[in-house]
Amino acid sequence: MTGADVLLLALGAVAVGAGALVVGTRHLVRAGLWLVVCLGALAGDYLVLTAELVAWVQVLIYVGAVVVLLLFAVMLTRAPIGASDDLDRPGWPAALIGGGSGLGLAVLLVDAFRWSRVQLPAAGTAERLGEQVFRSWVLPFEVLSVLLLAALVGAIVLSRTDIGRPGTPVADPVRPVPAGTPLDEGGRA
């Protein structure tokens, strides 16, 4: 056991424990905060595995943006202080399937790798990863940027109430049509 192994074991234990609390806690907001701990431990794992850029992107995007968005959603939908009793379904099938898939995958991977050792490769710095992204993977990168744009437009269309739903009256942006106003045959008030 080298120092890297000890670090990986400790960070992995933290990540799995925090993940168990994310899916097990009965406090809505605390689930989001445990998710921060889990994702932070995973970022530490990436650092030990010499994936520097991925680790910092993980901290920036996951911990910085995704968790904040999730906490926003918790606050916007329902934010009870204290425990909620109606968060869970009865859990036996879920425990069976989740435990089965997790432990099955773990057994497969243990069987594949045993207790072998590998040398850590050269660190994945921003320079090396940038070379790969902008040379070998530049087409997927561009497609991904189009996908981000599509997701952004989709989120806007979904969250606006006056567009996208069939049968919604087309509102005048300057002077909205009050409810109950009789419409003439042109659809205008």
């Binding site: 990986l8 899916v23 809505l28 595995l49 999730l70 379904r89 991977l109």
Partner: protein, 116 residues
């Protein structure tokens, strides 16, 4: 470095994510469990980058970056859907959502089909 340690961590995290997706009723908590599964996949990719000598160096880490971006897009659209669901039904319990919605009655909206 023993690669079996992060691999087993990732497998257990994936199992926890599956468990959370199936167990939770709150749609935001379901999304959090989906994030756990995506992170397990990321950990597999980064670990595979250290154990597998691919022809292109650092392919696993590049894929992990792509998955992170996909997760950000997914969470944006997913939360928009969840908030819209809350606006319509004042509840985000996923097992209260009917799978087939009866079509909206077009009776009171006769002026809509006319183009502007």
């Amino acid at each position: 470095m023993r690669p079996v340690i992060p691999y087993v961590t990732a497998a257990l995290l994936f199992g926890l994510g599956v468990f959370g997706v199936l167990r939770r009723r709150n749609a935001v908590l379901v999304l959090m469990a989906v994030e756990l599964m995506l992170n397990a996949v990321n950990l597999i990719l980064v670990t595979a980058d250290t154990t597998v000598r691919a022809q292109l160096p650092h392919s696993g880490q590049v894929f992990a970056l792509f998955v992170i971006v996909l997760a950000a897009a997914e969470i944006g659209v997913g939360l928009a859907i969840v908030l819209q669901l809350y606006r319509l039904r004042a509840s985000v319990a996923v097992d209260d959502v009917p799978l087939s919605e009866p079509p909206a009655q077009p009776a009171a909206r006769t002026g809509d089909e006319v183009p502007r």
